[in-house]
Subunit: 204 residues, 2 copies
Protein backbone atom coordinates (compact mmCIF):
# COMPACT_ATOMS: atom_id res chain seq x y z
CA UNK A 1 0.00 0.00 0.00
CA UNK A 2 1.30 3.52 -0.75
CA UNK A 3 1.74 5.67 2.31
CA UNK A 4 -1.02 8.15 3.10
CA UNK A 5 -0.91 11.42 1.20
CA UNK A 6 -2.18 13.40 4.21
CA UNK A 7 0.57 15.31 5.94
CA UNK A 8 -1.30 17.17 8.64
CA UNK A 9 1.98 17.84 10.42
CA UNK A 10 4.19 20.04 8.16
CA UNK A 11 7.32 18.64 9.84
CA UNK A 12 6.30 15.18 8.64
CA UNK A 13 6.11 16.37 5.05
CA UNK A 14 9.60 17.83 5.40
CA UNK A 15 10.99 14.52 6.67
CA UNK A 16 9.43 12.65 3.76
CA UNK A 17 10.86 15.15 1.28
CA UNK A 18 14.32 14.67 2.81
CA UNK A 19 13.90 10.87 2.73
CA UNK A 20 13.12 11.11 -0.97
CA UNK A 21 16.19 13.28 -1.60
CA UNK A 22 18.38 10.77 0.21
CA UNK A 23 16.91 7.92 -1.83
CA UNK A 24 17.38 9.82 -5.10
CA UNK A 25 21.03 10.57 -4.28
CA UNK A 26 21.70 6.94 -3.32
CA UNK A 27 20.16 5.71 -6.58
CA UNK A 28 22.33 8.12 -8.58
CA UNK A 29 25.48 6.95 -6.82
CA UNK A 30 24.69 3.21 -6.92
CA UNK A 31 23.69 3.43 -10.57
CA UNK A 32 26.95 5.16 -11.43
CA UNK A 33 29.44 3.06 -9.40
CA UNK A 34 27.56 -0.07 -8.45
CA UNK A 35 26.41 -0.68 -4.89
CA UNK A 36 29.49 -2.69 -3.87
CA UNK A 37 31.94 0.08 -4.82
CA UNK A 38 29.84 3.01 -3.61
CA UNK A 39 30.24 4.39 -0.08
CA UNK A 40 27.98 6.29 2.30
CA UNK A 41 30.48 9.13 1.89
CA UNK A 42 29.73 9.20 -1.87
CA UNK A 43 26.02 9.57 -1.14
CA UNK A 44 26.66 12.32 1.43
CA UNK A 45 28.85 14.13 -1.12
CA UNK A 46 26.08 13.88 -3.72
CA UNK A 47 23.67 15.45 -1.21
CA UNK A 48 26.21 18.07 -0.17
CA UNK A 49 25.96 17.10 3.51
CA UNK A 50 28.31 15.55 6.05
CA UNK A 51 28.41 11.78 6.36
CA UNK A 52 27.37 12.15 10.02
CA UNK A 53 24.21 13.97 8.96
CA UNK A 54 23.33 11.19 6.52
CA UNK A 55 23.50 8.69 9.39
CA UNK A 56 20.56 10.59 10.88
CA UNK A 57 18.45 9.01 8.11
CA UNK A 58 20.01 5.56 7.85
CA UNK A 59 21.97 3.09 9.95
CA UNK A 60 23.93 1.32 7.19
CA UNK A 61 24.65 1.58 3.47
CA UNK A 62 22.43 -1.43 3.00
CA UNK A 63 19.45 0.58 4.31
CA UNK A 64 19.76 2.75 1.21
CA UNK A 65 19.69 -0.26 -1.11
CA UNK A 66 16.75 -1.70 0.82
CA UNK A 67 14.78 1.54 0.43
CA UNK A 68 15.47 1.59 -3.29
CA UNK A 69 14.32 -2.01 -3.64
CA UNK A 70 11.14 -1.43 -1.64
CA UNK A 71 10.38 1.73 -3.66
CA UNK A 72 10.54 -0.40 -6.83
CA UNK A 73 8.06 -2.88 -5.37
CA UNK A 74 5.71 -0.07 -4.29
CA UNK A 75 5.84 1.31 -7.83
CA UNK A 76 4.99 -2.09 -9.35
CA UNK A 77 2.15 -2.48 -6.88
CA UNK A 78 0.72 0.88 -7.94
CA UNK A 79 0.83 -0.26 -11.59
CA UNK A 80 -0.95 -3.52 -10.73
CA UNK A 81 -3.61 -1.70 -8.69
CA UNK A 82 -4.26 0.74 -11.53
CA UNK A 83 -4.55 -2.08 -14.10
CA UNK A 84 -6.83 -4.14 -11.84
CA UNK A 85 -9.12 -1.12 -11.40
CA UNK A 86 -9.79 -0.74 -15.15
CA UNK A 87 -13.00 -2.21 -16.60
CA UNK A 88 -11.33 -4.29 -19.35
CA UNK A 89 -11.52 -7.67 -21.03
CA UNK A 90 -8.73 -10.20 -20.26
CA UNK A 91 -6.69 -9.56 -23.43
CA UNK A 92 -6.84 -5.80 -23.02
CA UNK A 93 -5.95 -6.11 -19.35
CA UNK A 94 -2.80 -8.15 -20.05
CA UNK A 95 -1.84 -5.73 -22.80
CA UNK A 96 -2.38 -2.70 -20.56
CA UNK A 97 -0.37 -4.28 -17.77
CA UNK A 98 2.66 -4.90 -19.99
CA UNK A 99 2.47 -1.43 -21.47
CA UNK A 100 2.10 0.35 -18.12
CA UNK A 101 4.77 -1.70 -16.37
CA UNK A 102 7.31 -1.14 -19.16
CA UNK A 103 6.60 2.59 -19.28
CA UNK A 104 6.85 2.79 -15.51
CA UNK A 105 10.14 0.85 -15.43
CA UNK A 106 11.68 3.03 -18.13
CA UNK A 107 10.48 6.28 -16.53
CA UNK A 108 12.37 5.04 -13.45
CA UNK A 109 15.22 3.30 -15.23
CA UNK A 110 17.99 4.29 -12.79
CA UNK A 111 16.32 2.82 -9.72
CA UNK A 112 15.37 -0.25 -11.81
CA UNK A 113 19.01 -0.64 -12.83
CA UNK A 114 20.08 -0.55 -9.18
CA UNK A 115 17.38 -3.08 -8.36
CA UNK A 116 18.41 -5.61 -10.97
CA UNK A 117 22.15 -5.17 -10.54
CA UNK A 118 22.29 -5.15 -6.76
CA UNK A 119 19.20 -6.67 -5.15
CA UNK A 120 21.18 -9.87 -4.46
CA UNK A 121 23.43 -7.90 -2.11
CA UNK A 122 20.70 -7.37 0.47
CA UNK A 123 20.92 -9.34 3.72
CA UNK A 124 19.28 -12.76 3.80
CA UNK A 125 16.26 -11.55 5.78
CA UNK A 126 15.61 -8.68 3.40
CA UNK A 127 16.13 -10.90 0.35
CA UNK A 128 13.44 -13.15 1.74
CA UNK A 129 11.09 -10.17 1.95
CA UNK A 130 11.89 -9.35 -1.69
CA UNK A 131 11.16 -12.93 -2.76
CA UNK A 132 7.76 -12.73 -1.05
CA UNK A 133 6.96 -9.48 -2.90
CA UNK A 134 8.04 -11.05 -6.19
CA UNK A 135 5.87 -14.09 -5.55
CA UNK A 136 2.86 -11.74 -5.16
CA UNK A 137 3.71 -9.93 -8.41
CA UNK A 138 4.03 -13.26 -10.18
CA UNK A 139 0.64 -14.47 -8.88
CA UNK A 140 -0.93 -11.31 -10.29
CA UNK A 141 0.68 -11.87 -13.68
CA UNK A 142 -0.20 -15.58 -13.74
CA UNK A 143 -3.86 -14.69 -13.12
CA UNK A 144 -3.80 -12.16 -16.00
CA UNK A 145 -2.22 -14.75 -18.32
CA UNK A 146 -4.64 -17.49 -17.33
CA UNK A 147 -7.64 -15.24 -18.00
CA UNK A 148 -6.21 -14.03 -21.31
CA UNK A 149 -5.42 -17.58 -22.48
CA UNK A 150 -8.98 -18.64 -21.60
CA UNK A 151 -10.50 -16.19 -24.09
CA UNK A 152 -7.65 -16.07 -26.63
CA UNK A 153 -7.20 -18.35 -29.65
CA UNK A 154 -5.10 -20.50 -27.41
CA UNK A 155 -1.43 -21.29 -27.17
CA UNK A 156 -0.39 -23.92 -24.72
CA UNK A 157 2.41 -22.27 -22.72
CA UNK A 158 1.85 -23.03 -19.03
CA UNK A 159 0.92 -19.75 -17.27
CA UNK A 160 3.69 -20.06 -14.71
CA UNK A 161 6.38 -20.45 -17.39
CA UNK A 162 4.72 -17.73 -19.45
CA UNK A 163 4.91 -15.35 -16.48
CA UNK A 164 8.71 -15.71 -16.41
CA UNK A 165 8.88 -15.03 -20.13
CA UNK A 166 6.75 -11.89 -19.81
CA UNK A 167 8.81 -10.63 -16.87
CA UNK A 168 12.02 -11.19 -18.80
CA UNK A 169 10.65 -9.34 -21.80
CA UNK A 170 9.69 -6.32 -19.70
CA UNK A 171 12.88 -6.21 -17.65
CA UNK A 172 15.18 -6.41 -20.66
CA UNK A 173 13.82 -3.13 -22.01
CA UNK A 174 15.79 -1.44 -19.26
CA UNK A 175 18.97 -2.50 -21.06
CA UNK A 176 17.69 -1.50 -24.48
CA UNK A 177 16.39 1.96 -23.51
CA UNK A 178 18.60 5.03 -23.91
CA UNK A 179 16.92 8.19 -22.55
CA UNK A 180 16.40 10.79 -25.25
CA UNK A 181 16.91 8.32 -28.11
CA UNK A 182 14.63 6.11 -30.14
CA UNK A 183 13.06 3.68 -29.52
CA UNK A 184 11.15 5.84 -27.03
CA UNK A 185 9.57 4.46 -23.87
CA UNK A 186 6.23 4.41 -25.64
CA UNK A 187 7.64 2.51 -28.63
CA UNK A 188 9.28 -0.06 -26.39
CA UNK A 189 6.07 -0.49 -24.38
CA UNK A 190 4.13 -1.01 -27.63
CA UNK A 191 6.49 -3.63 -29.05
CA UNK A 192 6.61 -5.49 -25.72
CA UNK A 193 2.82 -5.57 -25.50
CA UNK A 194 2.51 -6.89 -29.06
CA UNK A 195 5.20 -9.53 -28.49
CA UNK A 196 3.65 -10.71 -25.23
CA UNK A 197 0.12 -10.90 -26.63
CA UNK A 198 1.28 -12.81 -29.69
CA UNK A 199 3.69 -14.98 -27.77
CA UNK A 200 1.47 -15.96 -24.87
CA UNK A 201 -2.06 -15.77 -26.21
CA UNK A 202 -1.96 -15.35 -29.97
CA UNK A 203 -4.26 -13.02 -31.85
CA UNK A 204 -7.62 -14.02 -33.30
CA UNK B 1 36.63 -18.70 -34.71
CA UNK B 2 37.39 -21.35 -32.12
CA UNK B 3 41.07 -21.88 -31.58
CA UNK B 4 42.64 -24.85 -33.36
CA UNK B 5 42.23 -28.21 -31.67
CA UNK B 6 45.69 -29.32 -32.84
CA UNK B 7 48.24 -29.12 -30.06
CA UNK B 8 51.31 -30.54 -31.74
CA UNK B 9 53.46 -29.13 -28.96
CA UNK B 10 52.47 -30.84 -25.66
CA UNK B 11 53.68 -27.80 -23.69
CA UNK B 12 51.14 -25.69 -25.57
CA UNK B 13 48.31 -27.99 -24.52
CA UNK B 14 49.43 -27.68 -20.93
CA UNK B 15 49.38 -23.89 -21.09
CA UNK B 16 45.86 -23.93 -22.55
CA UNK B 17 44.69 -26.32 -19.82
CA UNK B 18 46.11 -23.99 -17.16
CA UNK B 19 44.50 -20.96 -18.86
CA UNK B 20 41.16 -22.76 -18.69
CA UNK B 21 41.62 -23.55 -15.00
CA UNK B 22 42.44 -19.92 -14.27
CA UNK B 23 39.32 -18.80 -16.18
CA UNK B 24 37.12 -21.35 -14.38
CA UNK B 25 38.39 -20.24 -10.97
CA UNK B 26 37.87 -16.55 -11.83
CA UNK B 27 34.30 -17.27 -12.97
CA UNK B 28 33.55 -19.13 -9.71
CA UNK B 29 34.90 -16.26 -7.63
CA UNK B 30 33.27 -13.44 -9.63
CA UNK B 31 29.96 -15.28 -9.69
CA UNK B 32 30.05 -15.74 -5.92
CA UNK B 33 31.22 -12.27 -4.84
CA UNK B 34 30.72 -10.05 -7.82
CA UNK B 35 33.64 -8.75 -9.86
CA UNK B 36 33.95 -5.45 -7.96
CA UNK B 37 34.37 -7.12 -4.55
CA UNK B 38 36.52 -10.05 -5.70
CA UNK B 39 40.32 -9.85 -5.62
CA UNK B 40 43.12 -11.53 -7.53
CA UNK B 41 44.04 -13.06 -4.16
CA UNK B 42 40.59 -14.73 -4.02
CA UNK B 43 41.17 -16.29 -7.44
CA UNK B 44 44.66 -17.47 -6.44
CA UNK B 45 43.18 -19.01 -3.26
CA UNK B 46 40.55 -20.80 -5.33
CA UNK B 47 43.34 -22.23 -7.52
CA UNK B 48 45.49 -23.07 -4.51
CA UNK B 49 48.44 -21.08 -5.85
CA UNK B 50 50.29 -17.93 -4.79
CA UNK B 51 49.07 -14.58 -6.08
CA UNK B 52 52.47 -14.04 -7.67
CA UNK B 53 52.06 -17.25 -9.70
CA UNK B 54 48.67 -16.08 -10.96
CA UNK B 55 50.29 -12.91 -12.28
CA UNK B 56 52.23 -15.19 -14.61
CA UNK B 57 48.92 -15.68 -16.51
CA UNK B 58 47.41 -12.20 -16.24
CA UNK B 59 48.45 -8.59 -15.76
CA UNK B 60 45.33 -7.26 -13.99
CA UNK B 61 42.08 -8.47 -12.45
CA UNK B 62 40.31 -6.99 -15.42
CA UNK B 63 42.14 -9.43 -17.73
CA UNK B 64 40.20 -12.23 -16.03
CA UNK B 65 36.86 -10.51 -16.65
CA UNK B 66 37.87 -9.81 -20.23
CA UNK B 67 38.71 -13.48 -20.83
CA UNK B 68 35.36 -14.54 -19.40
CA UNK B 69 33.52 -12.07 -21.62
CA UNK B 70 35.40 -13.17 -24.73
CA UNK B 71 34.76 -16.84 -23.91
CA UNK B 72 31.03 -16.06 -23.83
CA UNK B 73 31.21 -14.47 -27.26
CA UNK B 74 33.18 -17.42 -28.66
CA UNK B 75 30.50 -19.75 -27.31
CA UNK B 76 27.70 -17.75 -28.94
CA UNK B 77 29.62 -17.70 -32.18
CA UNK B 78 29.91 -21.49 -32.11
CA UNK B 79 26.13 -21.74 -31.62
CA UNK B 80 25.49 -19.40 -34.55
CA UNK B 81 27.92 -21.30 -36.79
CA UNK B 82 26.25 -24.63 -35.93
CA UNK B 83 22.76 -23.22 -36.62
CA UNK B 84 23.84 -21.61 -39.90
CA UNK B 85 25.31 -24.95 -41.05
CA UNK B 86 22.00 -26.83 -40.72
CA UNK B 87 19.87 -27.37 -43.84
CA UNK B 88 16.64 -25.88 -42.45
CA UNK B 89 13.74 -23.65 -43.42
CA UNK B 90 13.61 -20.13 -41.92
CA UNK B 91 11.09 -20.93 -39.14
CA UNK B 92 12.95 -24.05 -38.07
CA UNK B 93 16.25 -22.17 -38.14
CA UNK B 94 15.00 -19.41 -35.85
CA UNK B 95 13.52 -22.02 -33.53
CA UNK B 96 16.74 -24.05 -33.46
CA UNK B 97 18.79 -20.93 -32.77
CA UNK B 98 16.71 -19.94 -29.74
CA UNK B 99 16.73 -23.49 -28.41
CA UNK B 100 20.48 -23.99 -28.84
CA UNK B 101 21.43 -20.57 -27.50
CA UNK B 102 19.28 -20.99 -24.37
CA UNK B 103 20.61 -24.49 -23.71
CA UNK B 104 24.16 -23.25 -24.23
CA UNK B 105 23.65 -20.26 -21.91
CA UNK B 106 22.16 -22.41 -19.16
CA UNK B 107 24.82 -25.10 -19.49
CA UNK B 108 27.27 -22.23 -18.85
CA UNK B 109 25.14 -20.23 -16.47
CA UNK B 110 27.94 -19.10 -14.13
CA UNK B 111 30.04 -17.46 -16.82
CA UNK B 112 26.85 -15.97 -18.30
CA UNK B 113 25.98 -14.51 -14.90
CA UNK B 114 29.41 -12.90 -14.66
CA UNK B 115 28.98 -11.57 -18.18
CA UNK B 116 25.64 -9.91 -17.57
CA UNK B 117 26.44 -8.61 -14.10
CA UNK B 118 29.89 -7.27 -14.77
CA UNK B 119 30.58 -6.67 -18.46
CA UNK B 120 30.02 -2.93 -17.89
CA UNK B 121 33.10 -2.86 -15.67
CA UNK B 122 35.50 -3.53 -18.53
CA UNK B 123 37.68 -0.64 -19.71
CA UNK B 124 36.28 1.61 -22.41
CA UNK B 125 38.39 0.06 -25.16
CA UNK B 126 37.35 -3.47 -24.25
CA UNK B 127 33.70 -2.45 -23.90
CA UNK B 128 33.90 -1.14 -27.44
CA UNK B 129 35.15 -4.53 -28.59
CA UNK B 130 32.20 -6.16 -26.80
CA UNK B 131 29.74 -3.80 -28.48
CA UNK B 132 31.17 -4.76 -31.88
CA UNK B 133 30.74 -8.47 -31.10
CA UNK B 134 27.17 -7.85 -29.94
CA UNK B 135 26.39 -5.91 -33.10
CA UNK B 136 27.51 -8.98 -35.12
CA UNK B 137 25.31 -11.28 -33.01
CA UNK B 138 22.38 -8.93 -33.49
CA UNK B 139 22.87 -8.83 -37.26
CA UNK B 140 22.76 -12.63 -37.32
CA UNK B 141 19.53 -12.67 -35.31
CA UNK B 142 17.93 -9.89 -37.38
CA UNK B 143 18.63 -11.91 -40.55
CA UNK B 144 17.01 -15.02 -39.00
CA UNK B 145 13.96 -13.00 -37.95
CA UNK B 146 13.61 -11.30 -41.32
CA UNK B 147 13.71 -14.65 -43.13
CA UNK B 148 11.25 -16.23 -40.69
CA UNK B 149 8.81 -13.32 -40.95
CA UNK B 150 8.97 -13.52 -44.76
CA UNK B 151 7.58 -17.08 -44.77
CA UNK B 152 5.48 -16.90 -41.56
CA UNK B 153 1.85 -15.83 -41.30
CA UNK B 154 3.19 -12.37 -40.62
CA UNK B 155 3.31 -10.16 -37.57
CA UNK B 156 4.57 -6.68 -38.07
CA UNK B 157 7.22 -6.27 -35.35
CA UNK B 158 10.25 -4.58 -36.94
CA UNK B 159 13.12 -7.13 -37.04
CA UNK B 160 15.50 -4.85 -35.17
CA UNK B 161 13.08 -4.37 -32.24
CA UNK B 162 12.19 -8.05 -32.40
CA UNK B 163 15.87 -8.97 -32.05
CA UNK B 164 16.03 -7.12 -28.71
CA UNK B 165 12.92 -8.92 -27.52
CA UNK B 166 14.33 -12.32 -28.44
CA UNK B 167 17.65 -11.55 -26.76
CA UNK B 168 15.86 -10.44 -23.60
CA UNK B 169 13.79 -13.61 -23.59
CA UNK B 170 16.86 -15.82 -23.87
CA UNK B 171 18.97 -13.93 -21.35
CA UNK B 172 16.28 -13.88 -18.67
CA UNK B 173 16.28 -17.68 -18.51
CA UNK B 174 19.60 -17.36 -16.70
CA UNK B 175 17.73 -15.81 -13.76
CA UNK B 176 14.93 -18.37 -13.87
CA UNK B 177 17.12 -21.47 -14.07
CA UNK B 178 18.13 -23.33 -10.89
CA UNK B 179 20.52 -26.22 -11.64
CA UNK B 180 19.06 -29.56 -10.65
CA UNK B 181 15.49 -28.24 -10.41
CA UNK B 182 12.61 -27.98 -12.82
CA UNK B 183 12.10 -26.32 -15.22
CA UNK B 184 15.12 -28.07 -16.78
CA UNK B 185 17.36 -26.46 -19.37
CA UNK B 186 15.50 -28.37 -22.06
CA UNK B 187 12.10 -27.22 -20.77
CA UNK B 188 13.23 -23.60 -20.65
CA UNK B 189 14.68 -23.85 -24.17
CA UNK B 190 11.37 -25.31 -25.41
CA UNK B 191 9.18 -22.62 -23.85
CA UNK B 192 11.48 -19.85 -25.10
CA UNK B 193 11.41 -21.22 -28.64
CA UNK B 194 7.59 -21.45 -28.59
CA UNK B 195 7.24 -17.93 -27.18
CA UNK B 196 9.65 -16.42 -29.70
CA UNK B 197 8.05 -18.17 -32.68
CA UNK B 198 4.57 -17.13 -31.63
CA UNK B 199 5.62 -13.65 -30.58
CA UNK B 200 7.75 -12.74 -33.59
CA UNK B 201 6.37 -14.77 -36.43
CA UNK B 202 3.09 -16.36 -35.40
CA UNK B 203 2.11 -19.88 -36.26
CA UNK B 204 0.07 -20.89 -39.31
Amino acid sequence: MPISEHAADPAEGKVRKRDQEVLDAAVEVFCERGYASATVQDVADKLGILKGSLYYYIETKEDLLYRAVMAVHSGSEAVMDAVAAQPLGPLERLELYVRRQVEHNLANYKIMTVYFNDVAQLSKLRRREVLARRAQDKEFLIALIREAQAVGPGHSLPPERAADLVTGTMVWMNRVYRPGRRPTRRELADTCAAYVLNGIVGRP
